[in-house]
Subunit: 363 residues, 4 copies
């Protein structure tokens, strides 16, 4: 269904940006996992507004509460309900949205689909909805750490417009990513990215870019051909995030210029383990992980809501102009880094459990 994701580790998010709050219900979390709000809050803090001067200055501490599914610090195996209240809603900043459709935003399409929309803030299309995903993913990551302690998921900003990070994806560390406000592990480039974001904000404009992610030490055997291939589920996960326009795994679009003899990853034994000498496959072959690092890239468009005056139409069907007020991110990427990690964690946790359900007969 629309707001449910996953097969075995299954989450249902709910909530609008302006309303009682946002949240998530997790069904299918294994019992006896240690879990408190303190496991979840750090990930929410990486996502929340106001964390640096290059993101929206909205003041929301996004404090989460676990309402069910945990007893004396351990999961019960029953649904885990997690909630975050809305605290800094300012519907008065959105009065024009009642009558004007923001260009390239979800206003017109929500109205077309539902015949109604919550025009105070982005409603359901607000990035605030992703709080539920991040909270659920914090739980998923704990499951993954218990079952596959070496598995590591890292995402970072690889490009802001034409400014591209340099360096080896396989060597990036969490510390490098969190060392600056834009979450780019290449410190020198990060400075240029931050400058660019400040500049476009000062011009009432916005920018997009590319987030890259790596999943290290993923066990071979995850992914369910033919439709629930690992890259297909990752693609859906990433393309379900607001503002995404593209997805690549491994060699992606650039791999299309190679010949097969160049693109194929040769197998070689490394001790008792089958390895590949290159990784253009990006860790997935035939829809199933092969044990090499999973590499993916996600394209995010520039934020649609900008302060500059734009041409648009009204709900009454008249041409008009609109200059957004409100407190918007000039660039979504720094705050989208934990979202990409979250979606990867949700997909992997689900597939780890699915593989455990399938692989039950003696080998």
């Amino acid at each position: 269904m629309a707001s449910t994701f996953g097969t075995l580790f299954r989450i249902s998010t709910w909530g609008e940006s302006h309303g009682g709050g946002v949240g998530v219900v997790i069904d299918g979390c294994p019992p006896r996992l240690p879990l408190t709000e303190a496991d979840i809050q750090p990930d929410l803090d990486r996502r929340r507004p106001g964390q640096s001067d290059i993101v929206t200055p909205r003041k929301e501490d996004d404090a989460c509460t676990i309402l069910s599914g945990v007893f004396r610090g351990l999961t019960l195996g029953t649904p885990i309900s997690i909630m975050v209240r809305n605290t800094d809603a300012r519907p008065e900043a959105y009065t024009e949205m009642e009558t004007h459709y923001r260009p390239s935003h979800a206003d017109f399409t929500y109205q077309s689909k539902y015949g109604i929309r919550n025009w105070e803030g982005g409603g359901r299309s607000s990035a605030r909805e992703t709080i539920g995903r991040v909270a659920a993913a914090a739980v998923a990551k704990k499951v993954l750490r218990t079952l596959h302690p070496d598995l590591e998921i890292l995402a970072w900003v690889a490009a802001i417009q034409d400014i591209e990070a340099e360096g080896d994806s396989n060597a990036v560390t969490a510390a490098q990513i969190e060392a600056n406000a834009v979450r780019c592990p290449d410190a020198v480039t990060a400075t240029r990215m931050i400058e660019r974001i400040r500049q476009v904000r000062s011009e009432g404009d916005s920018v997009g870019g590319i987030i890259e992610a790596v999943i290290r030490n993923c066990p071979a055997g995850l992914g369910e051909p033919v439709f629930d291939r690992l890259e297909a589920d990752l693609a859906k996960a990433m393309m379900s995030l607001p503002a995404t326009k593209g997805f690549e795994v491994g060699s992606g679009f650039s791999g299309t210029t190679l010949r097969g003899s160049e693109h194929n990853d040769a197998f070689r034994m490394e001790g008792a383990r089958v390895r590949t000498t290159s990784n253009l496959s990006g860790g997935i072959q035939g829809g199933i992980s092969n044990g090499e690092p999973i590499l993916l890239r996600v394209a995010f468009k520039p934020t649609a809501t900008i302060a500059r005056e734009q041409e648009t139409v009204t709900v009454a069907g008249e041409n008009a102009t609109l200059a957004a007020r409100g407190r918007h991110d000039p660039c979504v990427l720094p705050r989208a880094v934990p979202l990409v990690e979250a979606m990867a964690a949700l997909v992997l946790c689900d597939h780890v459990l699915r593989q455990r359900a399938l692989d039950v007969l003696p080998r």
Copy 2:
């Protein structure tokens, strides 16, 4: 589940390349739709081997049989089972696959996941599995034509390696696409593409490329935020096809270099209808179609199975070399064009029915 796709118009494919055959069961097809094998066969013929000199010369006519769900030429509303027998299986061409993993193919990962694999041909990872998708999509397209007669889905080869087609996506016609063996609507470029494919085949190698697709006259309002956004479901659909490495909608990765003021699609009234003056959104905003053409691109890697000798390992864990025999496509793209169209049709048909189920109260 692994081999099921869709929510309301739901298909389950089955079958290996070497075995009794391949097929599909469609659950949820509306009753009273005129349907015979003649509605399905043309699409299968566009997908089948041996249709030109730049694809695999295997001789399979891929003749389909409808086994259930149709009575006197009309669908019953019950499951439609469609089957195609395997006729040109030559397992002897695959004897080395029993012991050697083909680089960048699914051999090693299937073995890792399942602890067993059908090494006669590609087994379940064979592109032969897509027959079921194409057959089901032929039915989906008939549903779409009945409910939205103007809706049109077209895919074509936009690039083979560095050879890129020119021309306006919005003007491409089916006749242009089908006018040449590579299915590129730009006739001049098509000739160069065909030459390139012949050349790499003669060198025992393979090439990849990019398929582009457009969906015209799609009604506004399709797509189900937040997880089943239209672009998310399209991304999953395309990335579930064999050999895909990337997906873009609208401006895709190139849109990440623009500013918001450049990227936003301004709304303007066109008579009583809300239109956009540009279409960098690619026909989808906030996960929902806006009535503009839906534009998407899919990256296909070069075929993994090549005649050249490659380094690999054996199932016994020894380094080895392998030069594939068998009759393989030097380039999957010409035959993948109907696959991209098929997956688009399956996604759209499902979302059209979903929107009908949701939009039931008086507006």
Copy 3:
């Protein structure tokens, strides 16, 4: 998944009896439906403790809050999150449950399944979980009233132990049912039932019985053969309620003693409408509603938690005895009447939407 019910009108309940609260998320509710808490509270009040002297005296007002999915009194088409706080939890009444398994309760099986359980109250197995179902069903009933204004769902207590109500199921009214504390439309028998319940409570014991339900003016054509037959989905819905042991539709078990010539419902025209002269089918034939009243019966066992001393074992594996403290219902049936109605409403709403999604081609 475990805590999700429905295909298109899909609900996910969460919560334990002792914890932050209980609630439900509804995904797939049509947009533009008028909805406030006042639409939901009356149904919750019929379910809540303390409403009469024959049910548990716990004091919980079960006041609900709609947290999302509604804007200015209308549904948005997005997930509707509804929550009820736990207010009268008294974990001290359950200290023995930490060490002793209550006979015929869920303590032992939850421990076996999950390796952990919330022993403060019934945890997830508490009837408190059904609050989410009743709240969601209140929304489902509003959808049904909009689409099928004449459709009516009524349930009542047909038997307490051997005390059976008399009268014609087809003539029962809501007013008759709500006229007494036991919710039996036969006033004379109701008095005897109430006496019996008071008596067994005074003896530290409990009783069970049978709830009957009728669905009137249900349109023909609901139900999805072969697995999601209407009676199959109703059976699952009812047997998912706590304390249920049996389900019948139409003639039920007593119909097994008849011959086909006696059991078949003859068709006769009633004006332009096809009717049956009897209704042993109970309104469903071949898994699909036929337009006649749907009649069903549900068996509820006597409450497991009783004040009398019983033999049991401890979590440490020792034989022991247990006499429950706490405030329990001597008979669940009066409060289960709205639960049976709720589950019927959820099944019907889902199938009404499913039929709308299937029946889209011109007849």
Copy 4:
């Protein structure tokens, strides 16, 4: 979806009684399970027509073919497609069905729902559809035997009309059941049942009855509260079979006359194992198996299609009479015994895999 059953071990049946055949696709079967047609055929033979003189004399050998998912005698983990051709279809026996609705059959409701029906034979409502279930269940039983070798599922005819079998359910053996044509383990009563069936057939009439089933050595911990309780999924499974009108688990409807102190099953240690001294719960408490035998009963109505003349209406809306020709079962129960076992096996296999997917953290 309508024709899909199960969550992890998931089956999709297809086919009408008159058409290309019937079949099933199993998705989610664990790999490396030994499987050939010889594992499936015996169960199909217990279901097929013509096996004795008290069932329909139609001549169909119902020989099955495995089309996919098996390689050299072992399952691949990919979809298993199994097919049975229709061989003895005689549409001419059904010509009156084109115009006349059979009383208490699915003719009228299918027409109401779908606006079309296959009136040659029962179409999709034919018991022939259950071939797919029985075939899939034969695979499920093999999975169960591998994971839980002691688990045993037995069903038998407990009553034909008022003729009730005697004896202890817990002592019934497969040999006793298969020793006579009616599949009643009480040999003396079986003779009376067979006589009764012959008699009603000679009178152009039909009878119904009750099938009882026991599941022995089921592990504790199966079932997924709150909606997918084990008894709820069993109820749905059984009520999805043609001709069923009622379902009971454990004490069922008769348990409603007991008090809690009589109905509760006391726990006692049996060595290190927790047992109950009685089993009115029928092996399920709180929706989860407790390790005791699971006991259930299913009510089957008398066959609707009878030779006697009955009142009905035509598709043109006129009152009429109808006396069925064709070769029908005077009593469905002997052939329904393997169906009840099959549905139980499908539910258990699914829940065994679900519990394996949930119970992944160290205890």
